[in-house]
């Protein structure tokens, strides 16, 4: 993987800007290829898909279909129609929370390290329809086994955005299926960084966002097995979700359109399709090993200064995320000081307040890496981190 060549595709990393971007778990930078593809829609065929018969509309249709195919291939879905476009991971999970047939006292199981996007929809469903929620300890298979009995839906995060550790989802999906439960995978933090094969995993549903994997913001995906998607009742209906309506009824469209109500974010869809193309060309395995290599360097430096690393000290288990605290320095102070040095990263609880509160940790600093980050950037970062550590010595 030629990082220097890759960096040239990212205008935000122009040498003159001297920007070190380590906030990739929040959102990634976008390559020029994605931007060009998005602009192409607005410049050459700014029209709506699947409705009109004219040439521009046909072109949009074709590009949207291509993007859907790219994304289906990216996840190795059986059929393109198993890919539904949403706004983001949050909307995908909310779609399931509203469309999956859940009734009072049905059990939904999640881990203790879920993003608010995969916690709040279920808390709401608990209040709205009276489902029961169960929580297992993150990546603790024994605890998972203890809690799986009677569960109707397992909605779990794949890779945690707090510390980069992952649930053993292959095993969990297997156990879930053995116990008759359906599994929804929050892949927002895993899809951008590792090869995901929904058929190998046997995932029933999978949610992810374009903006975390070089794609545009405002576009996401819900993957679902066709037979399961067909059982869902759309919770949002409107333009292009039906073939016909009368005053009393409607004839719903086939998959995936029945879940894509109203005019879609075509530029975003097309850009997302281009983003997964880009990732495939670079190779997810290459990206994963590059991130781990950089994370090892960061972890080594953090151990040197006795930083409190959240999660395991083995960087191999934390993909491209290093979440830490230095002494009693407020994590926001650290991120603000680094910002003054042109290093962008995040501090706080990353929308996983529940886990931080339960563990009585007042937030952390998070450096999250991606394919365009370099060893030199890591060195500069560590130099400043060491300077900051001196503040409390």
């Amino acid at each position: 993987m030629n990082v220097e060549k890759i960096r040239k595709d990212f205008p935000a990393l122009d040498a003159g800007k001297q920007l070190i971007y380590f906030d990739n778990a929040c959102t990634t930078l976008r390559p020029v290829q994605v931007m060009q593809k998005m602009n192409e829609y607005y410049k050459e065929y700014p029209s709506c898909a699947g409705r009109s018969n004219h040439r521009l509309s046909m072109k949009v249709n074709e590009e949207v279909m291509k993007a859907r195919k790219n994304i289906a291939n990216f996840f190795n879905a059986k059929d393109d129609s198993e890919v539904i476009f949403t706004r983001n991971t949050t909307e995908s999970i909310n779609l399931i929370a509203n469309a999956f047939k859940l009734k009072r006292e049905d059990i939904v199981l999640g881990s203790d390290k879920e993003h608010n996007s995969n916690l709040l929809p279920w808390l709401l469903a608990e209040r709205r329809i009276g489902i029961t929620r169960k929580i297992f300890k993150f990546n603790d298979i024994e605890d998972f086994k203890n809690k799986i009995k009677g569960v109707k839906l397992v909605s779990i995060v794949h890779t945690s955005n707090v510390d980069g550790t992952s649930n053993d989802v292959k095993e969990m999906i297997k156990i879930s299926h053995e116990n008759g439960a359906v599994v929804l995978l929050d892949a927002a933090q895993s899809a951008p960084h590792k090869e995901l094969n929904v058929r190998k995993l046997d995932a029933d549903f999978l949610a992810c966002s374009g903006h975390k994997m070089l794609g545009p913001s405002g576009i996401g995906v819900l993957y679902g097995k066709k037979e399961l998607l067909e059982q869902l009742t759309p919770f949002m209906m409107g333009g292009d979700t039906v073939n016909n309506t009368t005053y009393d009824g409607f004839e719903i469209k086939a998959l995936p359109e029945r879940f894509e109500a109203g005019l879609q974010n075509y530029s975003g869809i097309i850009g997302f399709g281009e983003a997964v193309n880009y990732l495939k060309k670079v190779g997810l395995d290459n990206i994963e090993s590059h991130e781990k290599e950089l994370n090892k360097r960061i972890t080594g430096g953090l151990v040197e200064i006795n930083a409190n690393i959240i999660g395991p000290k083995d960087a191999n288990l934390r993909s491209g995320i290093a979440s830490f605290n230095i002494g009693n320095i407020n994590p926001h102070d650290i991120s603000l000081m680094l910002n003054a040095k042109n290093i962008m990263l995040r501090s706080g609880m990353y929308c996983v307040h529940s886990w931080f509160n339960a563990n009585k940790i007042n937030g952390s600093v998070r450096a999250s890496l991606y394919l365009y980050n370099t060893k030199e950037e890591v060195e500069i970062f560590m130099k400043h981190i060491k300077d900051i550590a001196k503040l409390v010595r």
Partner: protein, 307 residues
Amino acid sequence: MVICLIALPVFLILGIFSVKYRLLAKEAFRCFFKTVTLKPCDTGLDQKIKSEITARLMWWPPLASIFYNRFNVISWVFAILIITSTFFVGQGAYNYAVYGNCNGENSNQFCIFNVVRAEQPEKEACSKIENEHELHPEKIKIDGYPVRGDPDAKLTMVEYGCFGCPYTKKAEPVVRGLLKEFAGDVNLVYYNVPLSIHKYSIEASKAASCAREHNKYWEYHDILLENQDELSDGSFARFAQEIGLDEKEFSECFNSSKYDNYINESYNGALAVGIYGTPTFFINNVSLVGPQDYRTLKKMIKDELEK
């Protein structure tokens, strides 16, 4: 939190010039409001300031460390300084509004609001004598000296001036303005002190005395000060002509020595009073050396009139 007390006025001032600082000023105001109502500041502004400054001090880690770890103490020190200085500025502004001088009643010290004094706070009077010394208003003898304004006015302001002195010229608009404002209540006695450090000052005194013979003293006084930079051997006759004096009569007077004694006596009289610089003003027993701003003199006049 206390940093917001400092940040608010700073960002308010910077906000005049930039929207960016207006937003920060808003944040500072919210934080300020919370601080004074004893609630925790939740804007994060204090954190931003602390971290930004610490990052800039990182070139010398011990300094950055002291700043970071003692931020609250440092903030308090600056907050107390800013509150104290605000108090003194307020006091100065009050003094300026009420007494015409930010240092208080009857003060003759430097005041930044007094523009005239600010230009040359050190030496603002023309002087032949280096050292300042005590003035003796009780020794003033003004009988026979020219009076401007109502001779029966309640109050007399005495000005010791020199026609060649640029500070005497500088004081002139203020003096004239006050005589206009207090017409009928205040008059001016101009006591000329020809300082030899100014070329033609003795000639100017002599010429003015000649003009006085024809009741044209004040016209000549004014033309001399207005054209102070043009004083020359030939200028005195020209000025006389301009104010309508007979050229021949003026020249005879000017070329004679009839006023030599008078000029010497005047000069010695000024020394007896202790005059060490021009202009020097006396309003009853209160003296002021150097050109004064309008408000200062006006305040003194009003006070004397009210006595």
